[in-house]
Symmetry: C2
Subunit: 329 residues, 2 copies
């Protein structure tokens, strides 16, 4: 049995990325810098309007797994696509990234999910997601032995938008608990937190070992207005928390071990995937014996690569960058 | 006997402020964003070149005392001026600020200190200081009963540039120790730290209860390149540390109590006195029973007022601003 550093579970999505101006967002009623769920009709309508769109495999947890592999980590991704053009393209991209992806493709039902991403000149990304086949993830897609063979099970909050997927998540978390696999979770998006706040709080209390959140998501979770209040709310929590703050860097905390880390400077082109890449760097560090501060530094390094170009997955070898920064084990 | 919240000791200086462009700094060999010591000749030369200079009472600890009074705090300032035009102007300004200032004026010797401050359009300030009479501070200027009647004795690192003043500082710190008065210290400037690093480290180990440092000063003190390494170096220290990070806010720490606080947004005109005002807000909070986080918030609020206009002392009532922000005791 292969040992995995991380098994990631998330919506399997193909990104469709285009550069636009702020007027485009206004003209097409696109909410800026967050993820909005759309139906197939609205997705097709926006797709037709996006100037020079590029297709590239995406999905938050899938991006994390690709970045983990770029660092030299060993990963498995669980997520649902349909056996259509986008679905095959998604599967090929996971293979190209050297991430195992064995979830059975749906033969019928809704088509493979896509996320239409409008990137404004300030580097912010505004996402409109049609979940399609990704909502069909089911308990049968979970191989408990593979979860047990993973150091970390990483779950994206966005999966809560796929209600059928919950039984699969529950099965995976139970398998993780039994095997001593750590459970990591990302809050994904402040609006997503708004939709499932009570459930996410219950997860935090009962099921999680590692939490990823950006400042806005964490404020939404704890319903506070001030970063320090988020931080104080998390201090008594027993797990490892990584709170990201864009250009302000991140704060990572585990019990009395607290680190306040800088962002790695980058020329920001497109912030899509910054949080995904951060989680990859952090989890790579954590599963390779690095101290908490270096886990945060690896996260910041991975994020800096991904925001310096269009697309949510690394273009340069993160392993090489980490080696140059003396951050490899 | 009057009870003081804070007795401040520092160089008594009159600021001469002028707006310039970066070319002016280059043309006149002025080091940007730090404090450089100059002799009387160089001071006179620069004074003649500064366009439309304005005179205003300054000096780091004196600014802090003025901001403390603006918050409603009760303060005494100890520092040396000569009985000349600038010296009388300095004394009047302390009186106008409702800060007690009783240090005997020098009747002869060097003239009152001045600091020529060139402010560039980015709000940064480049300071050239002629210390003059302020270097003459002597043990006789210290009234031990007044130190004992203060909750906090606040000392600026810049005073180390006035070697004669050291006997006065030692006398004041001993009086504080005997009386249970807390000793607070600001590192003042990264170059100042470079000049006296070993002495400042010894102070930290042996004499201080409260430390103020901005990020660059703290990096210079601990000889590290990374904010988190400063923070980790200070974690085992028994005192209260307030680490300021300009627009990144501040981190305040006392034992296991750690707070990561945001800056208060401001339209930056002139950063002169930002750290001085921060210390005032923080010490006002600390001497009025506020929790550590609110001490930091009071500091950030005071700094935001001072950087939004020319000059290092508040123009609006900080007490009113603090009341509006619900930060008064």
């Amino acid at each position: 049995m292969i040992r995995y550093d991380v098994t990631g579970m998330g919506n399997a999505i193909v990104d469709v990325i285009a550069g636009v101006d702020d007027k485009f967002l206004l003209d097409h009623a696109i909410a800026k810098n967050v993820m909005t769920l759309v139906d197939e009709y609205r997705a097709a309508e926006l797709y037709a309007k996006l100037p020079s769109p590029r297709e590239i495999a995406g999905g938050s947890a899938a991006n994390t797994m690709a970045a983990l592999a770029s660092l030299g980590g060993n990963g498995l991704f669980i997520g649902k696509v349909k056996q259509d053009r986008l679905g095959r393209s998604f599967a090929q991209s996971m293979k190209d990234s050297r991430i195992d992806f064995e979830t059975a493709m749906a033969k019928d039902g809704p088509s493979t999910a896509c996320c239409l991403i409008a990137v404004t000149p300030d580097g912010h990304r505004s996402m409109n997601t049609y979940l399609g086949a990704s909502r069909e993830l089911a308990p049968d897609d979970i191989d408990e032995k593979k979860i047990a063979a993973s150091a970390v099970l990483y779950i994206e909050g966005y999966l809560w938008d796929a209600p059928q997927a919950k039984a699969a998540i529950t099965k995976a978390m139970k398998a993780a608990r039994r095997a001593g696999t750590k459970v990591a979770f990302t809050l994904s998006d402040p609006f997503c937190v708004g939709r499932y706040r009570e459930e996410f709080m219950a997860l935090l209390r009962n099921d999680l070992d590692i939490l990823f959140a950006n400042e806005e998501e964490a404020k939404a979770l704890f319903e506070v207005e001030d970063f320090d209040r988020v931080f104080q709310a998390l201090r008594p929590w027993a797990g490892v928390a990584a709170l990201t703050r864009s250009e302000k860097g991140c704060v990572v905390v585990k019990d009395e071990d607290v680190h306040v880390l800088d962002a790695v400077p980058a020329r920001v082109v497109d912030t899509t995937g910054a949080g995904d890449a951060f989680a990859a760097g952090f989890l790579f560090g954590l599963t390779h014996g690095k101290h908490l501060a270096d886990c945060g530094r690896l996260g910041a390094l991975a994020a800096s690569e991904v925001i310096s170009h269009y697309g949510a997955r690394p273009e340069l070898s993160l392993r090489k960058l980490a080696s140059e920064a003396n951050l490899l084990p």
